[in-house]
């Protein structure tokens, strides 16, 4: 014989995790922190500390790359391949 129990849900909490769509062990070539971590100047990962993917295929924390590109000596080039760094999506 089956016994049925009536349950009333009074409240529930949803929990989610997120990660960048990047291989898990890949690090930013500039600061060497994993892409899922932040650049050295930020505290929390997320949209405030996002990633830039170059047309050349090389990715960096946005802040790391900005700091580099702001240097005159960078000449706007990708630190990895020294091609002009252009972001894949604007």
């Amino acid at each position: 014989m089956l016994l049925a129990m009536k349950v009333t849900i009074k409240e529930w909490n949803a929990v989610a995790t997120w990660r960048w769509d990047m291989p898990e062990d890949e690090v930013c070539g500039i600061c060497r922190v994993q892409f899922d971590g932040t650049c050295p100047t930020c505290k929390y990962p997320g949209d405030e500390c996002t990633l830039l993917i170059g047309k050349c295929g090389h990715s960096f924390h946005m802040h790391c790359l900005r700091t580099w590109i702001d240097q005159e000596s960078s000449k706007g080039l990708c630190p990895m391949c020294r091609q002009k760094f252009e972001s894949k999506r604007e």
Binding site: G29, I30, C31, R32, C64, T67, W68, Q71, S73, P79, M80, R82
Partner: protein, 120 residues
């Protein structure tokens, strides 16, 4: 950091060299200052090379603003210097070495090296 050349280049056979790295707060956006430092004990000479001054200053484009990239690191810099020594066949100092060492007051990064001879 001590480095050695592992292949049997007779110029550097059985020698070990001491490199000093100095990092600014802007590293790795800015290159580190890298020089050879001579020691007597343990024996650490400044390697004889047409791009290495007798005061330990190294003329290597990747250590200057024009050649540095922030994806470089201590390991890659050491490998570049090793490779620069390994391929060298001239056991001599750069032209004007004595003069340069006597007069220079600039930090290595600020010296305007002319990268004239790409063959060594």
């Amino acid at each position: 950091m001590d480095i050695r050349v592992l292949d049997p280049n007779p110029i550097y056979l059985d020698q070990t060299f001491r490199l000093r790295f100095r990092f600014s707060n802007n590293y790795p956006i800015e290159s580190p200052e890298v020089t050879f430092i001579p020691l007597t004990s343990p024996p650490r000479p400044v390697p004889l090379h047409p791009h290495v001054y007798s005061n330990g200053y190294i003329c290597l484009d990747l250590l200057g603003a024009s050649g540095w990239s922030p994806v470089q690191n201590v390991e890659s810099v050491c490998m570049s210097i090793q490779s620069m020594l390994t391929g060298n066949v001239k056991a001599e100092r750069p032209p004007g070495d004595e003069d340069f060492v006597r007069r220079n007051t600039l930090r290595p990064r600020d010296v305007n090296f002319v990268y004239e001879d790409a063959t060594v």
